[in-house]
Amino acid sequence: MIDFSVNGKRVNLDVDPSTPLLWVVRERLGLTGTKYGCGMAQCGACTVHINGEAVRSCVAPVSRAVGRSVTTIEGLSPDLSHPLQRAWIEEDVPQCGYCQSGQLMSAAVLLREKPSPTDEDIDEAMTGNICRCGTYPRIRRAIHRAAEMVAKGGAR
């Protein structure tokens, strides 16, 4: 049995431990906000957090999550209140939206580690997340905006 927690809830699953975490989250737990894009850690659409660290869940076997705490986009906030989600809405970032869960999960780690990121910090943290629609200019603006919100104490 594979035992870990997802978005604060404990789960215990009978699943092949080599199955990528992505498919366990999507198909066994029904959390479809985390997306499949490439299956080889190239595009970042599948980004989740394991113990707070950004992980490409399409190549991470579920065994890697055992005893750990996984956060998916559904767990970023219960009510769109995370400063990044608020900034994403204010800057109208998404187009098709498919990559945005991964973008937000990567940005969340960046913002936690560097509360006032520079453009270079953003490039470095977000370069693993592809957006085919080309929302990068707005992602950049939204991350800066979220950082301002946090600095002004608007964050949770």
Binding site: K35, M40, Q42, W88, G134, T135, Y136, P137
Partner: protein
């Protein structure tokens, strides 16, 4: 996506009111589909839903709870139609925008694209084709609500006014929700007055997108996310070479793997059906399939391009002939010939292809991200052996479309129906394509070659322009073939952007050679313009250099009779500071192009270091006529520029011995955030007829970047993607 000029004329002749009224009445049912409709999702989330609703026409439902649901007949693939089309309706309705939501339309002739005669999202046409449709629908609903209120108050409807979801008369006020019952009893008016544009409250404003919240918390449902109880997942082994046929397969290992339910031959290959994707995929990879490789087994793109070059040496089918280009060429003071080449491209939507089928003995429900509902439904019905009306298609959000999800054969839909049939009804199955499957599956932007020749006179004026294009037709075999190809020996989509060359050059010859190659091709964002603009705008730049003239001024001089081309060209040049010097190692390039009824110009600023081109800034000017949502327009232009820049800098599909050489993002790169330039979009403010916006941002990117590389290096880029080693 298809002959816009022709269709534009057709749509303008269309009596929209008639369409709107014909779609009225007796339609109070048929909008709720299990698992998909707003009603179902609201119920499952425990929200209060109005049991009675006012549906004056097919496009809007007003609930007693004041909620206004706009039923949108175009697919949301990022371009913002779930916001811009509701804005049109809500403005005429004087709705309270905070109460407005959207729902995807089912497949029904009343949701046909007014110009294309079928339900489709393409050709950057949703807003211009929906403009009258959605405004009429909103105005009709408003008139009926006003009539209902006036009846209640026993006053003249003309003495009432509407604002933010209520009807007013003097100090009296009644909300739309309170009028639902009374309005439902009325007959829609035969004619309604549309607003004077000066009274618009929503149209023209950068209203936030309605779909953003659900795209920031993972709630948005794409085709790949559709869930049904007892649904199985299938992964299909498809031929490694186009046209190859399955000879036999050995599933001795695969069939005993965990979760595998069935392994079965389907027309497109061998389907492995399992309880979950990973099980299906793992078992699929353990299959051993023998293929008859067929005629394409020796196909190589390098040889194909050589054949294209040879073909371009002789004249092609004449598409346009002004004066005598060949004669003028031989008499020109200076002349130039240049061959431009572009490769096959993959649409590469972030969401790989997928399709869910719920097949029963006498009906079938398909859920997928479709751009081509009428065609997909008909093809699904044919595959299922059911009449059209027994098949429904639910359009989910599309994780990118770019044309791929409007496949003339509905390949990804039909295959899923066959997989369900192989299981036997009742069957619920989701077919998921891996990224590699998706990229290898064909239907690419065709590779093209444009051989250009031109000459200038002693004063440096262009006197002739000749193009010979070589490439595959994308319209052959599509539902548009009859209309588009009739009486022509060429495909207009191969030469769009060339055949309407706006430059005032006295002798022009546009010629086309059609290549027959067994690689399936189709429209990709900006279609023919994605390659013709590169050839034209680079060649015009080359002629400017030949004439010793500034490339911006050279274009200006030849566009004096084209004020809207000139408008965007000037705007982009001015905002970019065309005349301001740049640091050493940097250069600017400019391009202008008309496509999808909109005018676009880009100025790119690049630096070149050893073997690398870096785009620092792109200044984009767009004239799409009267616009609906400038925020969405800016996003589309930025995204289009990035899409075009990705192709210009990185992307190429090649075949060796019939096998595709690039199958994922590592070998077919997409621009990443660290490579993304600063992009500015400047929108021309006018009241011209609205044009498209999803595609016009793409074509200028490649030529602007390539011309900027010339400005830095003095060398020309004639093949995409840009490789400095190939510059001449």
């Amino acid at each position: 996506m298809i002959g816009r000029k022709m269709l534009r004329e057709k749509v303008e002749r269309r009596d929209f009111l008639k369409v709107s009224v014909a779609a009225t009445g007796g339609l109070l049912i048929g909008f709720h589909f299990p698992g998909i409709s707003a009603l179902a999702s609201a119920q499952s989330s425990g929200q209060q839903v109005a049991t009675d609703a006012f549906m004056p026409n097919a496009f809007v439902r007003i609930g007693a709870d004041e909620r206004i649901t706009v039923i949108v007949n175009h697919s949301e693939m990022g371009q913002g139609v779930y916001t811009s089309l509701p804005m049109l309706l809500a403005d005429e309705l004087d709705a309270d925008w905070s109460k407005v939501g959207f729902e995807s339309a089912p497949v029904d002739p009343k949701y046909n694209h007014p110009a294309f005669g079928m339900q489709i999202t393409g050709g950057s046409s949703s807003v211009w084709s929906g403009l009258e449709q959605f405004r009429q629908a909103g105005a009709t609903a408003r008139a009926m609500l006003v009539a209902a209120a006036a009846q209640q108050w026993n006053v003249d409807p003309a003495s009432c006014r509407t604002e933010s979801g209520s009807v007013f008369n003097g100090t009296r006020k009644v909300t739309y929700g309170q009028l639902v019952g009374a309005a439902s009893k009325l007959t829609p008016p035969a004619q309604v007055q549309l607003k004077d544009p000066k009274d618009f409250k929503l149209i023209g404003k950068p209203i936030k997108r309605l779909d953003t919240p659900q795209k920031t918390n993972g709630a948005a449902v794409f085709g790949i996310d559709v869930k049904m109880p007892e649904m199985m997942t299938a992964v299909v082994a498809r031929p490694p070479i186009f046209g190859a046929k399955m000879r036999s397969f050995d599933d001795s290992r695969a069939r005993s793997m965990p979760g595998v339910r069935k392994i079965v031959a389907v027309p497109s290959g061998v389907a492995v059906i399992a309880d979950s994707f990973w099980q299906a995929k793992t078992a699929r990879d353990a299959l051993r399939v023998e293929w008859d490789e067929g005629a394409m087994q020796n196909f190589n793109t390098s040889e194909m391009m050589q054949n294209f070059r040879d073909k371009a040496k002789s004249p092609g089918t004449s598409v346009r002939k002004d004066g005598d280009a060949d004669g003028a060429l031989s008499n020109a003071a200076k002349k130039l010939e240049a061959v431009y080449e572009v490769p096959y491209l993959s649409h590469l939507m972030m969401e790989p292809l997928n399709c869910v089928v719920d097949l029963r003995t006498d009906s079938c429900e398909v859920s997928t991200g479709s751009q081509f509902q009428t065609v997909d439904r008909a093809n699904a019905a044919k595959a299922a052996g059911l009449p059209n009306e027994k098949v429904q298609l639910h359009t989910t959000f599309l994780g990118g479309g770019f044309g791929r999800r409007a496949n003339p054969q509905s390949d990804f839909v039909v295959e899923a129906v066959y997989v369900a049939k192989a299981l036997g009804a009742p069957a619920k199955v989701k077919v998921i394509w891996t990224r590699e499957d998706d990229m290898s599956g064909g239907w690419y932007r065709p590779a093209f070659l444009h051989a250009l020749a031109g000459g200038i006179d002693a004063s440096g004026n262009a006197v002739c322009f000749r193009s010979r294009s070589v490439g595959q037709s994308i319209m052959a075999g599509t539902p548009f073939a009859a209309a588009m190809l009739k009486g022509k020996n060429y495909d207009p989509a191969s030469v769009e952007g060339l055949d309407d060359l706006p430059y005032e050059i006295p002798n022009i010859a546009i010629e086309s050679h059609q290549a027959e190659i067994g690689v399936p091709v189709q429209w990709l964002r900006s279609v023919g313009h994605s390659h013709t603009a590169f050839a034209v705008e680079c060649f015009i730049d080359e002629l400017a250099a030949l004439a010793g003239k500034d490339p911006y001024q050279f274009r200006r001089a030849m566009l004096q009779k084209h004020p809207r081309h000139l408008g965007v060209l000037d705007l982009a040049a001015q905002k970019a500071g065309w005349d301001k010097p740049l640091p050493k190692g940097m250069g600017r390039g400019i391009a202008v192009h008309f496509a999808f009824e909109s005018y676009s110009a880009h100025v790119a600023e690049v630096s070149v270091t050893e073997d690398k081109v870096r785009v620092h800034r792109m200044v984009c000017a767009i004239d799409c006529g009267q616009y609906v949502n400038p925020g969405i327009i800016a996003a589309q232009v930025e995204g289009g520029a990035i899409f075009g820049a990705s192709a210009a800098l990185f992307q190429e599909l090649t075949f060796e011995n019939g096998r595709l050489q690039q199958t994922n993002f590592n070998s077919f790169p997409v621009m990443r955030i660290n490579e993304c330039p600063q992009i500015e979009t400047h929108i021309v403010d006018n009241h011209e007829k609205p044009g498209g916006i999803g595609e016009p941002g793409v074509p200028c990117a490649a030529p602007a970047i390539a011309n900027a590389v010339f400005a830095v290096t003095g060398k020309r880029i004639r093949r995409l993607p840009i490789r400095l080693t190939e510059a001449v």
